[in-house]
Symmetry: C2
């Protein structure tokens, strides 16, 4: 019955319901599981999203937004009674302004299309991660996505100048400005960034672009002591003066596994070290930058801050180096079942904390593989755990092993993936009761009926 | 009577009331005007601020926070019945962690002390502006201050990792983490940054530090056409690859005035051009960086993108170059009365918009001087207007002349100073009714009695 509510505001081709929902799914990894929802709507404008929300608000219909469906914490899950709003027809790049260095996009534009469009005018949208070919800007904003170049360019929050969003009652909040600074009262776009679709539906954004770099250097570096990883980070960051764009740490056993499955990911350095760091620098003088990078590594070798280093000598080397780090399937493919983590903690504490987790996890019956790696310059470590079965007790034991120590050291259960449904039970480990009460009061102030992405975060 | 309310929670030495208030003032420029308030309290801990707010909440007492009192939009003004909380005893730097590259400070620490403490361990807190010797971190956070190096390092919002704040009912919201990434639910610290003390009182913060640069280059450059300013910005930013830290534009008549009052601010370039740009680059290779900078300028001269350029040849030259730009008194001292502006607009539109304002302002009777300059790479222009009298009609005529066109082009009446009391009438020029309603609902959700900095922003 309820689907007919939307007939007046949308074309029939924009509404999917009944048996047709079986062609849809809630996550890109679960295409075989038919979507469980009241209907799926495909608005083509902010106005249509607003009209949908007005009907949902009047009729108390819960709403879940679907973008690229690559979220890793269950934020796009449905239970069956929701109106799903797909942003797939909000897919236009409306403008690229190369003088303002901005791109105006609808929220259904795929991240990789943003990259390509920026590159076509010698600009860069620096946000980058593995799922770029599917992830949409709306989802990127709603999770405050991070990725591989946060060190130099920041997370999504730092790359968004303007936002248009629709709130629970259908109000359009439009703040589509190309300006870099705006201290005219509260910066309300921050409410929509990283709130996982629980405070509003982003329909458009103005992205901040950067001038495209013309040189890219990369190297793998070997260490035995974590303290040297930290001192090298400070050294290389200071001496590259704004060019350091990536500083990825891989623990030895992860490196061995990542580099042993095929020639395409052969090891750039031998298996002699406890820690492997992949660094990247983006500059504007191909020849000078290569030489400078090499001299900095040589000096670090001389003073024994680093034990070994190999520089990429060509663009294909750079690709090879990053393929090792990016293709997480090389870790997961050999697992019976996997469980992944995305924790954040102070940089100097990472070595001990992760080392301790390796030891404790190894004691858990049912744990078969333990791989750690991550964006260490951002204090963000990913764990991939292989296990024998999907039992809830085992899952929780692994969760607690990794999460429980974070509270004491001021860490977070989510550096970049968000809370969604998967991490709700652990939110209190990294947020105080007072913070959670304040968050819930914001939620009930902006979405008093609790219609937007219900059951997520809290 | 009411002052006795605080006797139980504070020492007598922390309370100023009655005639003693005459030694206090509401703004550093108005030390001759005695403070008009119920009392002034000097808490020395977050807990004491919380206790004060619990009493104020119970007794419906409005609260205004006083830090360095350098705010430019009237945000520290009082009307007489307020409890003023001074942060002057919250003045401890609690920790510098050079591996995490963080500094933990109480909110009354003066910005310049932060700079010095960071420099003592070869780190940099990049936020920098003229009032650094008086402005306190709490005020910096509450206004989301910008300044001279936003281009490279961002505004305050990008430099704050953790915050502790007290809300209207005395609740302590503590999120003091050193982590760079934290997507565990809503980023509520954003609520306290830039909200001008209307949503909570910041008592502590964890600041993000950067590795200190070891080279600093600067140059003045002359242009006749604004389009070339924009193309040169893109050129130099692309080729300095992360090192460009300042790009300040000064209109010809402002440059003439700024450089004519003493030998200390003598003109680096002759008075031959319509626009003067001061650029700064921060790097890590003193010799290479100087040579690279010079070559980039020579190439721009060759292709006639720029008409003239003079590079600083020594640290004292750099100081000289910046003294010209920073000493706004050289503009104001010759005015009978002054009115200043802090607008934000898309970069490519600045030349025409400011040019038109020059023409329109010159038509207004009572306007004697018109000076424009600003952080053009951030789209942020300051106007200093000299006028014959303080009449309200003249003030409004000047306001409207500068502000009225901003709505159409997506600008803002405040790039970095905030709204306070001075710009309340113009908030609707850069915010939609829906945005303002949402802001007000946030305010009433977090401060239902309207006790925090009443009368500011709205």
């Amino acid at each position: 019955m309820s689907v007919t509510l939307f007939d007046k505001i949308l074309d029939r081709s924009q509404i999917i319901s009944g048996k047709d929902l079986e062609t849809r799914y809630h996550h890109i990894w679960h295409m075989d599981q038919p979507l469980n929802a009241m209907c799926l709507l495909m608005p083509a404008s902010t106005q249509e999203v607003s009209s949908i929300m007005k009907i949902c608000f009047k009729n108390d219909l819960p709403v879940v937004v679907h973008g690229g469906l690559t979220n890793l914490v269950g934020s796009t899950e449905t239970t069956g009674n929701e109106v799903v709003i797909s942003t797939e027809r909000l897919n236009k790049i409306e403008e690229i302004d190369s003088s303002s260095r901005t791109m105006t996009v609808q929220s259904g534009v795929i991240l990789e299309h943003v990259h390509d469009a920026a590159a076509s005018v010698d600009l860069l949208f620096p946000l980058n991660f593995g799922a770029r070919g599917s992830a949409q800007i709306g989802g990127v904003i709603s999770t405050n996505a991070g990725g591989l170049r946060v060190l130099k360019y920041g997370m999504t929050r730092q790359l968004i100048l303007g936002i248009e969003a629709v709130t629970a009652d259908g109000t359009i909040i439009s703040s589509m400005k190309k300006i870099i600074k705006d201290n005219s009262a509260y910066d309300i776009k921050q409410l929509f960034i990283g709130s996982e679709g629980t405070l509003g539906i982003v329909t458009k954004a103005i992205l901040k672009l950067e001038e495209a770099p013309s040189s890219r250097n990369a190297a793998y570096i070997g260490f035995n002591h974590y303290d040297n990883v930290v001192s090298f980070l400070k050294y290389i960051d200071a001496h590259l003066a704004g060019k350091l764009s990536g500083f990825e740490l891989i623990w030895r056993n992860s490196y061995e596994q990542m580099t042993s499955v095929s020639h395409a990911v052969r090891p750039p350095l031998p298996y002699d070290y406890n820690y492997y760091v992949l660094i990247e620098a983006l500059g504007s003088h191909p020849q000078n930058d290569h030489a400078e990078f090499q001299i900095l590594l040589e000096k670090a070798l001389e003073k024994e801050q680093i034990l070994d280093a190999v520089m990429a000598q060509s663009p294909s080397d750079v690709e090879w180096f990053f393929r090792i780090r990016e293709d997480v399937n090389n870790l997961v493919d050999f697992m019976k079942h996997d469980q992944h983590f995305d924790i954040s903690l102070p940089i100097p504490l990472i070595g001990d904390y992760i080392g301790d987790r390796y030891e404790s996890l190894a004691q858990i019956e049912g744990v078969e593989q333990i791989y750690a790696f991550g964006h260490v310059a951002d204090g963000n470590i990913h764990f991939m755990i292989g296990k024998t079965h999907l039992g809830l007790d085992l899952k929780k034991e692994i969760d607690h092993c990794i999460y429980d120590g974070l509270k004491e050291i001021g860490g977070s259960v989510s550096a970049e993936h968000g809370i969604g449904t998967h991490k709700k039970d652990y939110l209190n480990l990294c947020r105080t009761p007072e913070e959670i009460i304040l968050m819930k009061s914001l939620k009930s102030s902006m979405d008093p009926k609790g219609l937007l992405n219900p059951g997520k975060i809290f």
